[in-house]
Subunit: 309 residues, 2 copies
Amino acid sequence: MKDIRVGVDVGGTTVKLGLFRADTLTDKWEIPTRTEKNGVGILSDIKDSIEEKLKEKNISKEEVLGVGIGVPGPVDAEGIVHGCVNLGWQTFSVEKELGELLKLPVKAGNDANVAALGEQWQGGGRGCGSMVMITLGTGVGGGIVLNGKILAGVHGAAGEIGHMPVVYDETEYCNCGKKGCLEQAASATGIVRTAKRLLAQSSQESTLRGREDFTARDVFDEAKKGDALAGQAVERLGEYLGIAAAHIACVVDPEVFVIGGGVSRAGEVLIETIKKYYKEKAFKGTREAGFKLAELGNDAGIYGAARLL
Amino acid sequence: MKDIRVGVDVGGTTVKLGLFRADTLTDKWEIPTRTEKNGVGILSDIKDSIEEKLKEKNISKEEVLGVGIGVPGPVDAEGIVHGCVNLGWQTFSVEKELGELLKLPVKAGNDANVAALGEQWQGGGRGCGSMVMITLGTGVGGGIVLNGKILAGVHGAAGEIGHMPVVYDETEYCNCGKKGCLEQAASATGIVRTAKRLLAQSSQESTLRGREDFTARDVFDEAKKGDALAGQAVERLGEYLGIAAAHIACVVDPEVFVIGGGVSRAGEVLIETIKKYYKEKAFKGTREAGFKLAELGNDAGIYGAARLL
């Protein structure tokens, strides 16, 4: 019986791999991502590493259902990767190339979408067929899972919710070239910038004042301790996320929003702040959608990749 | 060979019916919607009318693939209608009930979603598997078709884009109880209100000034003739629709937006105005999405209903 799956999550510096027996992750390991020469060796490194692991575990390829792989770039429905800047990759079929190397079925997806699928399968979205993942890190990413399947979009841009134009009075440019993206208000970078702006705009007392290099975590920590200015920064982040989630709900009407990424370590205060604004902004038919924290952390990618099969 | 389908579009005053042979609409007709006694007679009226038409056309039920029906209320994936206020209907399975009456397979969907499916099949979205329909009438409705299938959403609220909270400075309430819905700025009612506000806010000359009961059509007509104030009202409608479309694209990344409803009779000027703001607000990966006018008018519902099968 084919009950072995391998999930692969290709990042800019390491490739994470996971071996699943039935639905259980039994082994996980990492190899470095060799980005030199336009990443030409990445897939053969992955092949060697998987074959070595199967040998070590005494698993024959006949037992392997296949290999799922998440990559940091747009992937279309045929498994064609349309360039991964961080890896040096151009346009080619990862599914075909890795499949020929391994002589196993391979399914590929965009890493953010694949992580969303992982959370929907065994993380914060467990039990919900339709889920929207919002990943709050240096930027804001996302992934949409509908009826248990990733929505990739016609240009591979479905779930790019970090670039929803929600901030109307933004004066600075986002990395994408527009002004007013959700990412500018709701990422780790965004909340720090909000706090710095609030400090500059007033002489309000704050435990953040005079500290030059505070982080998103510091803003949440000070807000939790009762610092009013830090609290305002958290409110602003929650407000824009609440508005964005209300928009998303009018479009795909999911069962649950799962919040992940580094900023989500702030925990329940983050969820409660987003929910407060969501309830105020959301269309009545969608107001009961749930908000959950992500549960799989950095393993979401290997879970989701395995689930692609 | 079963190549006959019937599409039924149930409205608050009339039921529209269409007979399709292969993919061609060969007959269409209407019957009144008997809403008395909580609409208890509606389905049997539909049954009688379909059977009469089949008899008239000398078509046996063996040739009929089935009947699709669009209803004005939320319909879940199992074909259960969750209340239709305009018809007096409570929660029940239209598919099961009409199927038992007709002894034919029946598929049901929400009328706005079904109209979107019709436009995707044989209207403005022809040839595009993934399409978002935006219907600009007294309110703003919508429907999402992904890979040729309607997205209903977990609460039947997918595509309820009229209630996306895009207007941040709105002071009046929407019918839904919130403030700042897209519908408040971009419906026929919305553009008239915008024009009236602009008239009240300034003494700017306008051909609309002094006219008490102008319509959305008048605003577009005067804008086309060069009236600056009417032009501003059109710009505002286009701006909010452009922003909403940019949000939608970050979520589902469709191939095309199809604009329908009474306001869409304004034609290319509407499309061009929305596109101008969309290009400015949309994430780069989604900027090439198309904008088309709807083509099927009031027949979109019967087309989409037939396509449900």
